[in-house]
Symmetry: C2
Subunit: 140 residues, 2 copies
Amino acid sequence: MMMTEDISKIVELLQSHGIRITPQRLTIIQTMMKLDHPTAEEIHDELENVYINISIATVYNTIRSLKEIGLVREINCGEGCTRFEIIDDSHYHLICKQCGRIDDIHFETDIDFAAIASASGFDFKEENIEIYGLCPQCKN
Amino acid sequence: MMMTEDISKIVELLQSHGIRITPQRLTIIQTMMKLDHPTAEEIHDELENVYINISIATVYNTIRSLKEIGLVREINCGEGCTRFEIIDDSHYHLICKQCGRIDDIHFETDIDFAAIASASGFDFKEENIEIYGLCPQCKN
DNA sequence: CTCCCTGCAAATCCTTTGCATACAG
DNA sequence: CTGTATGCAAAGGATTTGCAGGGAG
């Protein structure tokens, strides 16, 4: 997980994309760092728990901005289940097709994503690897 | 793309999962094979074009069944854009973050997905690799 | 100061569901 | 025959948008 001190780097990233630094945005980012692959609603609920009122629309709008600049990744956990996370180092996901459990998986790969993208004339931004299966609880 | 002759194998796959063979399901599968990463609605529209009336609910229900048995993969092309394809050989996707263009990418990888899954106690089903960037048209 | 951001509520869009009928096995 | 699949329409849920006021730069 990304360290709290990295907030200053995140602030620079937002500024470099002309995104204004607002208390709501910083709060949402910090909440995403605290929670484990939260849904938009879980972020919103967590904020309510600490008596911070940020509208769900702002949560969604912020997530969208952060996705666009590559700070946030969307994880598809099936059946209308969408979760989000701050992208830090290269880690990928192991997802249970049954219950939606998401495990972070760290491994190295020899795939040169940037080269693959540019071979088709694309500017590489980021990659996403999802491994689907049945978790220990669901596989029986 | 999967060959039409493979329909018999698909029929077997459905049967082995206790999924009944209906004209609607076969038609939807063939339409998915014909179209390039269609959305649910594109499948439905294509059927209307040839005067076949299959309700959009049946399209969605069928896609869901096919996803569950691992025949169909969902591709996330951002901004509430969900596309589907029949899974055939191992190929992955290069997706434009701007316009949603999807290119199929074929490459080999040394990642042993099954081993990674079982290391966490998961039964491996399938994997998904998405590379995001900006396509030649959008990167300027 | 100016323009972007926020909150609220309403709108929208995608997907699923309930029910009666049809049909695959 | 029996139980699942289908069609239709309606429900449901997630995400976005319009608008007026507030705040960052």
